[in-house]
Symmetry: none
Subunit: 227 residues, 4 copies
DNA sequence: AATGAATGAGAATTCATTCAT
DNA sequence: GATGAATGAATTCTCATTCAT
């Protein structure tokens, strides 16, 4: 699946898979540590235990290596998140578990997640599009879970896209701002606190009343969008 | 203020300011469009209307240009956001306005905000630290506003750091995922929808009850952080 | 031996030797003709028949090329001079032959010898030290030969260091001032004349008597050192 | 005198002299310390207390600065050495004093003397020729003194050019090899030891007899030139 | 298939020199 | 006369990519 987007001069598919794994693993580490441009193909080859020339048997250009790395992460998301809710049926529990699982996958792939944020622009437009499509797929898992919750009436009728992104961002920002959170919260605390805000809202009942008033009074009447 | 972090061989401060503006403006555009590494100093110089050599009269190395660009954005945040709430006294209104203002500054500097996410790793450690410090400052504006709301009882006693980051992410993700949102929402709609979720919560009353139950039933008892 | 002081990314030692020879030969010619700074790596590469990039496979920086060139000359000295006296046993004859051989090696490497005088300052301190050590080694060959002559009583008890340097300078100055000597003397004549002065002294018997008197009468009594 | 070889756009001769002195003094120090190519015109200007542009009012190109520096040294030689023997009449004493004086001027201008050795090649051919002519002039002082000694019979009939150079080298090598001599000899000791060798010869009487035999027996009959 | 030496285009940076003020 | 900002040619060095073995 991953392979099909990147061409190789080598025939044997097993070998391709094996070598690509070596290369992607090495590249993920190096790109994460030093960034895409600071990492040379020689670096990658060396860490992968092959020669520089060999890398080019499995990849047409350096950017392909980045693409493979990013696709790898997204594929892990797409595999692991659905697996986490396989056995669950309650819509709200499924939604909560998705977020929980998402955060945990991100935690495991922290470096690569950050890499995805940093490096997408390093890709050519077609490759970037490919990545965005994969990302959208992952988000659809969330969106569908939200809609399911709305259907059973546990989630309000609000903008699904926005909430989807907010939930995704909960996961991603654990990686993006880990330098900030790490010293203050455990992952579990972080997940709980994030869900608490997003699900129950930050305001007290008094606050919510006031919030509604302020919104109505807003000189930007077109703001009211939820539904 | 920005200048003091980067050395220049030119003496005249007015000239420094003028030229640096030319350079930073050009660099912001190019770095945003093509990324830091794909942009050459010659590109920047040309767009800035000076020679390549001249750039080096105002900057010691290429990385300094990136630093100046990033500092510029952060400084705009630090200036414009406080200005937006100058005349307001109501804590909740201040908090809402901060988020609103933050989103609008980000919208204006969309490219540079994305750049900041992508390029911080391209900086040397000292320069990266400098950026993080500036970022933290902006966040303190939000944190203080949240605390003020808590003091008057309109915001629940929840983890301030997490909510701070969530609000910041509302603003940042408008830039980060603009390719996705742009076609679906206006900025105003986006702000309203985001605040609605974060302030009022995504769940219905039924949902909240269920949410509390699920949390209590969770096999990760340590998850429950302050309600 | 030469190689061990300069790093190379190429593994094959035979290839290293071969390519380094190409590079050093080309560089010796160009550095001698135009000087170190006026010669570009591209010039060297071209004359060596390789690409500029290839030079950097065998050398880490331009200065390394200079180092290799200088070490080459000194190594030739260290090889050829001892060889010339291998079969000789008479101390005075050995000393004379050393000077003769030294002059002839210098003559063959005239350009590089001058280069050594001119370019040592272009080296980094560590590399400069390395060169000076090699130079000192060559001089020890002379010093030992002088001492051997003193032991059998054919050389007076005088300052060995000074005489060593004077003999070395006989050789070096053939290269340094070749523009002056070339039109007046052959190498053989130059060697004979130089040895004649240094060994037999410039003065007549009358002169020597007078020299002793003048020295004694000198108002710088601390001058008299020989012995 | 010095000035006439280098053009200036400034009219006032006194000013030219004053500024050139500033520039030459600064350049002498910097060229000696760091070499010609490692020193920038800005460095020179700064140390001279003027602006970079000003240097170019008194000099057409960077090489001119080097020329002025070298001419300065040679001129000092040409002034100070003759002055030292003004009052002396005895030929041998004059010769000895010339060498003594030469060594002392060199000692005072050690850095610049080394510079002259290192940097002549950095000059254009015409400028190099100019330097060589000046050098020849200084040597003629020595040559004339040697011939005077030969005329009164205190110096043997030997090759005057060679002895001239040997005496000059006594002085120069004090500068060239100061890193070696400094720790072993004082200047006075060095002068005395050098003159002792060159004037009285390195060999004992036994040595000289043997030397003559070896020379006659030499398989290079064309060697015998002196006398 | 694998290697790793070779290539050469390309980029950052420096600095002699000029010139408007 | 003096200044110092501006220029841009030139140079070192890197590295993705190729290709003979």
């Amino acid at each position: 699946m991953v392979d099909s987007n990147v061409s190789s001069v080598v025939g044997n598919p097993d070998l391709i898979e094996k070598r690509r794994k070596q290369i992607v693993d090495a590249a993920t580490k190096l790109f994460s540590d030093q960034g895409f441009y600071r990492t040379t193909i020689k670096d990658v080859a060396q860490l992968a235990g092959v020669s520089a020339g060999t890398v080019y048997l499995y990849v047409r250009e350096k950017e392909d290596v980045l693409l493979l790395v990013l696709l790898q992460v997204l594929e892990d998301y797409a595999t692991e998140i659905p697996k986490s809710i396989e056995s669950l049926t309650d819509p709200l529990q499924r939604l909560m578990t998705i977020v929980d699982a998402y955060c945990r996958v991100v935690d495991r792939h922290r470096a690569a997640t950050v890499l995805a944020y940093r490096s997408t622009k390093s890709l050519s437009p077609e490759r970037r599009l490919l990545i965005q499509q994969h990302e959208t797929e992952t988000n659809q898992i969330i969106s569908r879970a939200i809609i399911a919750c709305q259907e059973v009436g546990v989630v309000r009728p609000l903008n699904v896209d926005v909430l989807t992104y907010q939930l995704m961002l909960v996961a991603h920002s654990w990686a993006l701002k880990s330098w900030y959170f790490k010293s203050r919260l455990t992952l579990d605390e972080y997940i709980a606190a994030s869900l608490d805000t997003l699900f129950a809202g930050a305001l007290t009942d008094t606050g919510k009343t006031q919030f509604d008033t302020l919104r109505l009074a807003g000189d930007r009447p077109e703001q009211g969008v939820q539904s």
